[in-house]
Structure formats: structure tokens, C-alpha cells
């Protein structure tokens, strides 16, 4: 394992420290917790809290700030934080108007965040939740765990955060977040594995000529292990699977996110975007805005995901609203 770290068991604490030190104008660490929270509070606003396992940087603390999250809870690498830490996040985000939790759909995250909601209710904080499940690589089924939440979650943060900033009540903020969730679909792929620092070796192996289509952000596989394809072929596969889901149709306007999983150069993401934008044009889908970069990573995995968010007037306005976070600026 080759990492620029000190102690594999201490990476999250040290990251939070370095992050708070770098961005003390935007966020601060709540002492003795796994919580990074906004410096500049908007009073009487619904609080937005997200988080989960670490290793997805800039998710989620990079989206803490005006117009997006009020608090991010940073669990151990790839491991949802416990309910006590989520509760700390809720407390940090609450200013009396209630708190919305944006949860990615993984068993662990859902259970821990739900337990935290129960704890918060005992402390008479009003809390509600939305669960993001944008990953079309996984079958949608109520019987199984269902779809995962991946990079499309960042759009949900943006929409929920912007709505909250308008002073809207919790129910409305939740409604906007749920609309974003209904409208966003994503799919990823990977060229290489990643190594959890405390594990010391890669989570899986991939041959020099292989890639995995449908890869999740923790190295969970998806659709198939195939031979290396070109960027154009990858773009075709990801987009066609997303469009098959039926949410995005000719005539629609969308926001696009080309998300790097950790070690994919920006150059490659832009090459992919060239093809994605051609395909969408061909399909009669108008691209309103494109975001290219690392938004939700899987430590140092090589690969990417593509997300499409269908827009209406409300979502456009919320997407365009100011956001002043360390990893997302509008």
C-alpha cells in the first residue's frame, strides 16, 4: 500500500483536521465528533446533513457551506458513522427549523441515519430524511437492498441546500430533494481497485486488460467485467443504461456530471464528456450545465461515473443558486 498518510487508523481524524485548517472561513470541526459544519449559518433555515463513510472526498465535507450542506458526518473509510455521530451532525445543523438528512441507499447508512433520527426525536429536533438511489447499475427492487446512492447525490445536496437557503419549510425542502432524486440517474465504471488504508491491500483485482462496468463507489461491482473499451464505448454504455431507465427523454433539459473516482485524469473525463455531449445531442436531450471533476470518489480508484439530472424551472433555479463550498461553487 502506497499512501501519503501517517497512521492508517487515523486518516479520517487527520483529514478533518487538515480540512478545517485549510478552510476555516467555510467550515469547522465540531470538537470530539466526526462532524464538519458550516462557519456561516443562515438563521432559521432547515439544516441539511449528509455523510457516510469517508474515502469519497470531496464528498461530503467538501459540500458543506452556504447553499449546500450544513454539516457532514465523516465515518471511517467506507463505513457509515454510528448514530451518535450522525446525531452530532443533526445538532450542529439544527437552528430550529428542522433538519433534512440526505442518505445514500446502503444498508449501513440507512440504519445508522435512521437510528440517529430516533435519537434526535428524543431530543425534540424535527428530522426528516431522503434516500438517494441513483445508480442504475443495480436492479431496482424493494425486496433487495435496491439501488445504491452514488455521485448523483451531489445534485441532491445542491438542490436541497439551495431550497433550504430560500427559507422554505422542511416539507418543501424534502419535496425538492425528492424531486431531484426522482430525476437523477447515474452509472459508473472502473479501471482499477482501491485500498482502504486499514485493510492495506486492494479490495479486488482487475487484470491489465479489464474494466468493470457498473462499479459502485466502494468497489462493489455492478453489471459486468469486460475487456478494456474506448472512452467512446464507455460513454455509449453508461448513457444507454441510464436512458433505458426512462427518466430522461428527447426534449428534456438535463444537468450532466462526469465524476472521477479518484485517479482518473481530468483529461480523460473531458474526453468522455465530448462523447456524452454528442450522444445527448443526438438523442434530443439538451445539456443545461455540465460538471466535470471529482465529486464523489472511491479513494484512488481509476474510473468514472456519469449522472444526468432532469431539470424543470424549479430545479434549474435551485441548481443555479449560489453555493459557496470548498468543492462546489456557483
Amino acid at each position: 500500500m502506497k499512501k501519503l498518510i501517517n497512521d492508517p487508523n487515523n486518516v479520517v481524524e487527520e483529514m478533518m483536521k487538515g480540512m478545517a485548517a485549510a478552510h476555516h472561513d467555510v467550515l469547522k470541526h465540531v470538537p470530539d465528533t466526526a462532524v464538519l459544519t458550516r462557519v456561516e449559518r443562515t438563521a432559521g433555515k432547515v439544516g441539511i446533513v449528509s455523510g457516510g463513510g469517508s474515502g469519497h472526498e470531496p464528498s461530503h465535507a467538501g459540500f458543506v457551506g452556504k447553499g449546500m450542506l450544513d454539516a457532514a458526518v465523516c465515518g471511517p473509510v467506507f463505513t457509515s458513522p454510528g448514530p451518535d455521530q450522525v446525531l452530532e451532525g443533526i445538532k450542529a445543523a439544527d437552528s430550529g427549523a428542522g433538519v433534512l438528512l440526505v442518505i445514500k441507499n446502503y444498508s449501513g447508512d440507512v440504519m445508522n441515519f435512521e437510528m440517529a433520527m430516533e435519537l434526535a426525536e428524543m431530543e425534540t429536533i424535527t428530522v426528516d430524511k431522503v434516500i438517494v438511489n441513483d445508480d442504475v447499475a443495480v436492479e431496482d427492487s424493494t425486496y433487495t437492498t435496491g439501488r445504491r446512492g452514488i455521485a448523483g447525490t451531489v445534485f441532491v445536496h445542491k438542490i436541497a441546500g439551495a431550497k433550504a437557503e430560500t427559507g422554505a419549510p422542511l416539507a418543501e425542502v424534502k419535496a425538492s430533494a425528492e424531486k431531484a432524486i426522482r430525476n437523477v440517474r447515474s452509472m459508473g465504471m472502473a479501471l482499477s481497485a482501491c485500498t482502504i488504508p486499514a485493510a492495506g491491500k486492494p479490495g479486488f483485482e482487475m487484470a491489465e486488460n479489464e474494466m468493470e462496468i457498473g462499479m459502485g463507489i466502494h468497489g462493489e461491482p455492478g453489471i459486468e467485467r469486460t475487456l478494456l473499451k474506448t472512452a467512446d464505448e464507455v460513454a455509449e454504455e453508461l448513457i444507454s443504461k441510464i436512458l433505458q431507465d426512462g427518466v430522461h427523454k428527447s426534449g428534456d433539459e438535463v444537468a450532466v456530471m462526469i465524476n472521477g473516482l479518484g485517479s482518473t485524469p481530468l483529461m480523460e473525463l473531458y474526453i468522455l464528456n465530448g462523447k456524452v455531449s454528442d450522444i445527448l445531442e443526438e438523442k434530443g436531450i439538451t445539456v443545461y450545465k455540465t460538471f466535470v471533476g471529482e465529486y464523489m470518489t472511491a479513494i484512488e480508484m481509476a474510473g468514472c461515473s456519469v449522472s444526468l439530472l432532469k431539470l424543470d424551472d424549479e430545479l434549474k433555479e435551485l441548481l443555479d443558486a449560489p453555493a459557496h463550498t470548498t468543492a462546489f461553487r456557483m
Binding site: N9, G53, G75, P76, V77, F78, T79, S80, P81, G82, P83, D84, Q85, Y106, S107, G108, M111, N112, M115, A137, V138, E139, Y143, T144, T145, R148, I196, A198, A199, G203, F204, G216, H218, G219, E220, P221, G222
Partner: protein, 209 residues
Amino acid sequence: MGLTTKHIQLWLQKTNEKIQENKTYLTELDQAIGDGDHGINMARGFEEAIKKTAESDYESPSDLLKDWAMTLISKVGGASGPLFGTAILKMSMSVKGKAEINYAELTTAFEEALAGILQRGHAAENQKTLVDVWSPIVRFLQENTAFDSAAFTNQAKEAMEQTKDMQAEKGRAAYLKERSIGHIDPGSASSFYLLQSLSEVIEKEGVTV
């Protein structure tokens, strides 16, 4: 004499030893069909539970189980934190007020633990999760009237091994679909260590349950 506070302490210690010893193995199981953190999560949580429970002298099994449970909930994280934490917490609630736990009480405690797991995880049997160890072990306790250490351990082991042939439908392994077959479920493996440890304590300490 039934299970006392001391025996619960030994149970925690023995489980911790097994978890620490098998941390890499548990992580490897999770690398095969999950995200490769299960051993790390359990080892972190149990280490903290040992530390936490060393701070106090406990009056009753319930008190000790409660601190054990709360530490797991807080420190394990992921899917296994709430599940193991809830299981132990439900046991704590079930044996509240008792200085010793007899066979019937132990059975009830396990029933409540399982109920807690099912409620928290929304999983059913045969979905390749730790439910596939906890459900058979509860049935085993219900079908008997006294604790048979060897048979109990055997049952737990068999249940764990049977998860190997299942296709996962809950938890991360579910994303693998058919590819999840052929690997033991990590949460079931650590559940086995927990149950085996209980069995060993009961046998070694001559507990009569």
C-alpha cells in the same frame, strides 16, 4: 448458577479475541463480496467495547450488555454496527433486573436480539446476512431445554457455512447477484465467533444454563 456479569465479561473478552485474531480474515470475506471493511469495523468496535467496559464495575449482566451494545453502535459503524449493537442492546433489555440468566431467559434474550436485527435490517432468512446465523440459533435454543455447548457451536458453524451457497439479497453483497455465491457472509462469520465464544465461556466456566 446461570450466566452472571462475570460470564458476560468473559463472553465479550473471548469474542474480542476471536475478532482481533480473525480481523484480516473477516476483511477478506468482505473484500470478496462487500467493501472490505468488516474485520476492521468489528475489530475497532470490540476493542472500544473492551476499553469502555473496563472502566466500570457492573452490577448486572444487563448493565454490562448495555455499555457493550452502545459502544458497538457508536464505534463499529456500517451495517454491522447497528445490527450487532441492536442485538446486544435487546439482550440487555431482555435480562434487565436479573443477576443471573437461566436457559429460558437466555432463549428469550436471543429471541429479542433476533427480533431487533430483523426490525433494523429488514432482512429475512436466506438473503445471505447474519440473520442466517441468528435465526437458526434461536430455533435451536427454542427446540432444546438446556445448553449443549458442542451442539450450539456446531449449529452456529453450520449456519454460517450454509451462507456460502446462498445468493445475497440484502447488504452490499446483493449487488453481486450470482457472483455472491461461493463466499461465506462476513457478518455471519463474526456472528459465529460471538456465539462460539458464548458457548466456550459456558462450558469452561461450568455455567449451568
